[in-house]
Amino acid sequence: MTNHWIDLKNADVVLVMGGNPAENHPISMKWIIKAKEQGAKLIVVDPRFTRTAAKADIYAAIRSGTDIAFLGGMIKYILDNNLYHRGYVANYTNASFLVNPEFKGPGQLNGLFSGYDPKTRKYDKKTWSFQMDENGVPKKDLTLKDPNCVFQLLRKHYSRYTIDTVSSITGTPEEKLIEIYKMYGSTGRPDRAGTECYAMGWTQHTVGTQNIRAMAIIQLLLGNVGMAGGGVNALRGESNVQGSTDHGLLFHILPGYLPVPSASLVDLNAYIEKYTPKAKDPRSVNWWSNRGKYITSYLKAIFGKSATKENDFGYAWHPKLDEGMNASWLNLFDQMYNGKFEGFFAWGQNPACSGSNAGKVRKSLGKLKWMVNVNLFDNETGSFWRGPGVNSADIQTEVFMLPCASSVEKEGSITNSGRWAQWRYKAIEPIGQSKADAEIIDELQTRVRKLYQTAGGKFPAPIVNLTWNYKTAVKQIDTHEIAKEINGYYLEDVFDTKATPPKQLGKKGQLCASFVHLQADGTTSSGNWLYSQSYTQKEGKVINMMARRGKADPTGLGMFPEWSWAWPVNRRIIYNRASVDLNGSPWNPKRPVITWDPVKLDKNTQKPGVWVGDVPDGPAPPMGTDGKGKYPFIMRADGMGSIFGPGLADGPFPEHYEALECPLQENLLSKQRINPAVKLFYGKEGSKEEDIFLSCDMRYPYVASTYRVTEHWQTGVLSRHLPWLLETVPQLFVEMSEELGAEKGIKNGDKVVVKSARGQVVAKAVVTKRLKPFKVAGSTVHQVGLPYHFGWQFPEDGSGGDSANLLTPTIGDANTMIPETKAFMVSVEKG
């Protein structure tokens, strides 16, 4: 989230699209209701009339997979009716930048952007560039009239997204579209804020990234980013999926969003050179110019004293990806199917039910020599060798199932969706012989290290040089020691050499105050720069900032700056420099996030001029200050919010494409039916039958989507075993409209079989008014929905049914490779 949960109360309009907080983030709904009590309007757009929709002022149904058409129509409406926040758009976004005149869009190239190569299914992005002046700074037209400026290109691109076309694609009635566009567009007024809440309803599509980009464009046009009650807010699915992402449990990032090194970056200098963006404009803060400090401090954290200037801080010990290698989820399981892996860890995850095309995942597991499954409960992954249709004798995989402790049987922090890292205490010892995950990691690490120390082996350096200083007098592994390593230390006395005389920033051996003090010369360490300040030292005293429970709310906006700790540097609303005008006065004086006080003295410099309110995105004076003002979007090299996004794989503007499986023969907007930049697993030489997809096929006529219910969690491993929850929602069901029920002769409670090109599940029919048939391109289209919480392993009598992911396809988003489980095609028959 750019903002945080309580901040939802500060919105004037809340748009929930691609999420369902009332059921999946129930307590957050308290703050949406609070906003409503204060006069805010709630808009819900969803294929299904959810419990969030039940509280909405306006609800609109949308066919799964058509959000870009819906949002593109909103962009057009905002531009056509001059609802955008002009001062914000001109000064804080790249709307004024001039684009290469060679750039062409889908309106000109029938669904493609310039530079497409059909053989590789990739774009050459040469023409997706800005025109530069003689100083290497993008050329601008602040009047936004130049035909090559981003603003005019945006207008041109979305001129095709007329109300009738959008309605025909999405199935949303025209009058609903207009009503919603008007309502949400009203937040373009500087003193009004609109917020957007999304979850997997937006990410799990072949156009997932561009769904969110489309909303980001709207929020920038309306001046809603950085504002209290604004922002683009991902409602993340798991208690610590924010923290686990921050800490780099993904193939492409290390902790703190540092890219994983690739083969051609042969030394640390080459790495830093490649990943340190250059900004020629002195008004751009360009925060990633600090990359060298963060990667060096990371290497010092993980390799300690063994990491020296002479050995490039151990950079060579770190594994490298091949250039262009994508080791993400779908490719990982494809490689597993191919027999690439001997060993596999499924640690606190149940891919046999959570992976898209779960049937293929289950087959892949049988190709392993050994698997380690760490969990609180037995599950479909650990027990795959005794699953339905599997002959155990044929499966040669050894499985080690290691029992781990629950969250109250250990101590540590987790980070919620609003970026608050909150400390949890240990209430009891682990049950039975179960162990905290940290202990299991510690045990395995210690044993593997010993084997390499005693017996040698391939390339032992990273294993034997890895820092592992977590043992204390009382504990084998103390999570406080890990938290301190993450925060980082001054390894020498560190000085600010720019000051005269040089000012001491920190003393050798102490915990770093924040990432602002990290150095690129090996004199500091930090396991994750983004969390530097989370466990720190003030006047010598060690403070676990994440354990704080202060209830002060000085702004009255619900930021609670003394409750736990938020990354970065306890900033509660990121991009908050965009919440003020060029002189530092809040766009919305009723809800100021930060305000520039030109008279008050700065505590550090004793000079007049200081920000009050939230922790600002950097201490520099407001943008309009002569000579010293800085642009607001400090993480962007050009300092501007990106309306034009040249870094994406599938286009600098979001364009509507249909899902891999959809009910239409053609995309109503162009000749490109699906996202032209997605990786196809099926339909070429060597394709696997498991990856089959069938679009617009009479055998699978209904659009389907997966979703969740309040009473269960993800694949259900942590909820199917809880008697209360299992009793309330005991088994797989499929929701369908009364019209579809009548057409198929299916009544509420009937047993039905839902099939896709890849698999089938048995489910109870829930025939409901919550779903209605859509009018799409003049025809009737039905949509059904299924939760994915169930699996064959528990309840042990099989009464829960199996995973809805047995139906979902092998295809991912063009940018992130997140599988498309929110739009695919099925049949439903009485069973």
Binding site: V266, L321, G343, K369, V408, G412, D437, Y470, H721
Partner: protein, 203 residues
Amino acid sequence: MSLSRRDFLKLSGGTAVAGAVGAGVTPEEAAAQDEELRIKGATETKTICPFCSVGCGITVHTKDGKVVYSEGDSEHPISEGTLCSKGASLYQIIHNETRLTKPRYRAPGAKEWKEVEWDWALDEVAKRIKDTRDRTFKATSKSKVKEKQPDGTEKDVEKEFVVNRTDGIAHVGSAALDNEECYILQKWLRALGLVYIEHQARI
């Protein structure tokens, strides 16, 4: 655990009414007393809900090393004491008879699990990690890169680079671990040379 919630309500409701007759208190008062007794003398521990990402506060009551009750933390600024049906069921995770309490092992071709000792399981896993790593370790690998030609143009060329990685092992999970655990987990996996590291955030 064979008692369903509905049975439980019937039972406890019945008990409360029976008690009420004897003690001259209403069922509501009896229920309130029940609650008080359950947490009387218990130790309070603050935690955060392990389910969704709202981060609601929960107070866990423990007595004699057992969790006797859990409830919303009324001081928590986001949840203000409230919990959803999952958060409210937290304590059922803890003393749950279907929890795994001992390591298990399944041999190649076996039809059943076998309970094993931790020491054995950890040693065997460590051996397999080393064995697979040593056999599948890749010191160098070929990558296509763009190389500047003498005439100023760029050409794709295939070159061998040092990669120092273990291609024979993959990992998925875990968004339910604590931050500190996530950090040391990725640190250790990468020290082993793994690059196939993924988790819930991708799906």
